[in-house]
Symmetry: C2
């Protein structure tokens, strides 16, 4: 492969490859952030599929319910997952059919549906979550603890600034 031009080497094809010579720091930063997220997400997506035959949106939905033992309303779930209600409904239907989730009218708001993990759902998620955390630790394990702390802190600053743009 040493004869191939750099931009034909598959391993280096990602969003960052679209940065042109004249582009500015902010754009470079964003494309690198996007690339890191996409690489980790693709790896997790493949591992969930391989080890549990589960999609990432399904894992994310169960993760939210796991953190809320009292359940969440459909609208709250959509908001937390940053996806449309339609997607949440489809995944929820499937989880209800598999007895991993129950759907009941919300006691405080009769027009709203509230989703809760069943005992079987909590158990199934806990097994996936333990493995998931191991994957993430492996993917980020090349960073020194100090680098990881610093990155975490800077991303916290970015999150704040994105929510309150200059």
């Amino acid at each position: 492969m040493s004869e191939a031009p750099a931009d034909l080497e598959t391993a280096d094809l990602d969003h960052e490859t679209r940065v042109g010579g004249g582009d500015h720091e902010a754009l470079r930063l964003w494309l690198r952030l996007l690339t890191c997220t996409n690489l980790i997400e693709a790896s997790i997506r493949a591992a969930l599929r391989r080890d549990f035959n589960v999609t990432l949106p399904r894992f994310d939905l169960m993760a939210q319910l796991y953190q809320h033992a009292d359940g969440l309303k459909m609208g709250e779930l959509s908001q937390r997952l940053m996806v449309t209600g339609g997607n949440v409904t489809g995944i929820a239907d499937q989880l209800v059919r598999e007895n991993l989730v129950v759907r009941e009218a919300d006691p405080a708001d009769r027009r709203a549906w509230r989703l809760t993990l069943t005992a079987a759902g909590r158990e199934a998620f806990a097994a996936m979550a333990a493995r998931h955390e191991g994957w993430i630790a492996g993917l980020t394990g090349g960073l020194a603890p100090g680098e990881r702390d610093q990155l975490y802190r800077l991303l916290g600053r970015l999150k704040t600034t994105v929510k309150e743009p200059a």
Copy 2:
């Protein structure tokens, strides 16, 4: 809103809200990275729709072609955009109908299609790209230049480590 429990305040609902007390640093780091990416992407998606009536995948595809004046094969495009061939085909079909892209048999590989932006396509993309860069600069503008450099460098380290997990 000061009476509402913290987890009902809409502005704070995101992937990070699923971090439980016992979770480890690596997982927290990943969920914060994901949250930052999702927040910026949602903002850009909304702005592209509002100002240009264009979807983000379409913008991303045109961005790749803009960087490659000689065009790209369909397979190369899919790889760079980290999406399936089907998605690329649908968007490309639309761009061809609008005379923003031409699709020709690749001279070196007759079985492959090669996509190139037309002059009108290059002009349309350049207008969007200038605006896009301004949005990104605004979204990240709350970081000091030093913080931005440091974040860029640490994300470079993360990218390397994700590609060669420990």
